[in-house]
Symmetry: C2
DNA sequence: TCCCTGCAACTGTGATCACATATCGCAGCG
DNA sequence: CGCTGCGATATGTGATCACAGTTGCAGGGA
């Protein structure tokens, strides 16, 4: 029998074996849908049918059922009284509530990150900021890429706070807000606030480098607040 | 055909029809497990087998699979690399992190509640505090009931803040902390901190009545902090 | 006494099926 | 022209089955 089962034989050949798809299909569907939602690539109100998604992914209904159940538990999807499931439509009130929570939680994560961030982490954050800036410099910036880099920039900072439970909650918040980014994504006028986004990001970076938690937090607050104002002005939200 | 399907016929008889079990078995299993966990009636590290739970509940595996998937998404349960699922075992570090987050979130909810609480809500909160006090007066207080009343007291306050998204997050936090209440529950020495718990609850109530958000928040902070210290002293937690 | 081996029971995963219900479209009547 | 009623389609839910992987334990060898 090959060495895997035995205790101490370490052949160099083993390391090159690679891992055999240790991921369940449920997990994969879940992750894919999650990324889709967080990247703002699904429309608020859009309906998901288990069979349709399963067909599109070439699997049976089971993994999709599972993934949707998990996303619904995180409020990333919504099950209507009809028991059909759709991408939630945020009310203005709820959006503002989420923004308030984000200011607290992401503000705290940023402040803590300013204390704990390591030089290599700072380098990564700098690189992401540079990439964000570069993408803005393009004549025709790719909105999808912009959103992705922005997300990486924020979460790389939160990760530096070394508070995994906090980060999971923050991810949940982005997951709920994700779909409205869709509208933002399609509106080309977003450039208006983009310049200020760059400035706030720079402020966060400066705060981290100076280990000034309050400054970094203040810059983040500006970022979140102005971005939120932009969405609110778009009225992609339910009035309620 | 009875009136239900038609538009405008409002017979008094209809109202008495009652609703026919409009709840899925998945939903029921989910809710039951959730309550069990939040009430601290499952042990950290305890393993759950889908078939076993299904057998105990007299259903097939399906609803249990569904419920467990949802709870796992909320970190209320944990899927091991083996793909078996168990009640998570908190590390000290994670427990302290959760406490920090609770101080922020529940503190904010309490402060906002102080501004928005209505007289009838205040009455309910007073009643719950009275019940909590009364249960303490018993010679042999029922720990389970104590935990339940405490939870109702806190969440009735948070509900008064009228921030549903915030409340869902807080529920998620209680869900993660629930299992360690189990140890607390079994240790009879808990009386030590109970007196102080009563005092802090009184302080929260006073703050709400005076519409003094800062005072209510400070009292809540004392409650959470001292309760957390008690758990940490029990070392029911993983050292990491 | 300890460690290894091999078999049996058990577990989660994915697929498929049956069923009750909801939704949509169309015909028929007012 | 608009509303009502009915049939066809599609949807979520729950049950059952097959399978692969893991775990646990007993037996045999050193």
């Amino acid at each position: 029998m090959p060495a895997e089962a035995t205790t101490a034989i370490a052949s160099p050949a083993i390391a090159s074996l690679g891992k055999v798809d240790r991921e369940t299909m449920s997990g994969r569907v879940y992750r894919d849908l999650r990324n889709l939602i967080m990247a703002g690539q699904v429309c608020p109100g859009e309906r998901l049918s288990i069979r349709t998604v399963a067909g599109a992914l070439g699997t049976s209904m089971m993994p999709v059922r599972d993934a949707i159940a998990r996303l619904a538990a995180e409020q990333a999807l919504e099950v209507l009284p009809n028991r059909t499931v759709r991408v939630p439509i945020l009310t203005r009130r709820r959006f503002q509530e989420l923004r308030t929570i984000r200011l607290m939680l992401e503000g705290h994560a940023t402040a803590v990150a300013a204390e704990r961030v390591t030089p290599p982490a700072l380098d990564e954050i700098r690189a992401l900021h540079a990439a964000f800036t570069a993408e803005h410099a393009h004549a025709e910036p790719d909105a999808g890429r912009l959103i992705a880099i922005n997300k990486d920039f924020h979460f790389r900072i939160y990760e530096a706070a070394e508070m995994p439970a906090l980060m999971q909650i923050i991810e949940g918040l982005w997951l709920q807000i994700g779909p409205v980014l869709n509208f933002d994504l399609r509106s080309k006028s977003r450039r208006l606030s983009d310049r200020v986004a760059l400035r706030y990001h720079q402020g966060m970076l400066d705060g981290l480098e100076a280990r000034d938690g309050a400054a970094a937090r203040a810059a983040l607050a500006g970022d979140i607040t102005t971005a939120g104002d932009f969405i609110l002005a778009c009225d992609a939200l339910l009035d309620e």
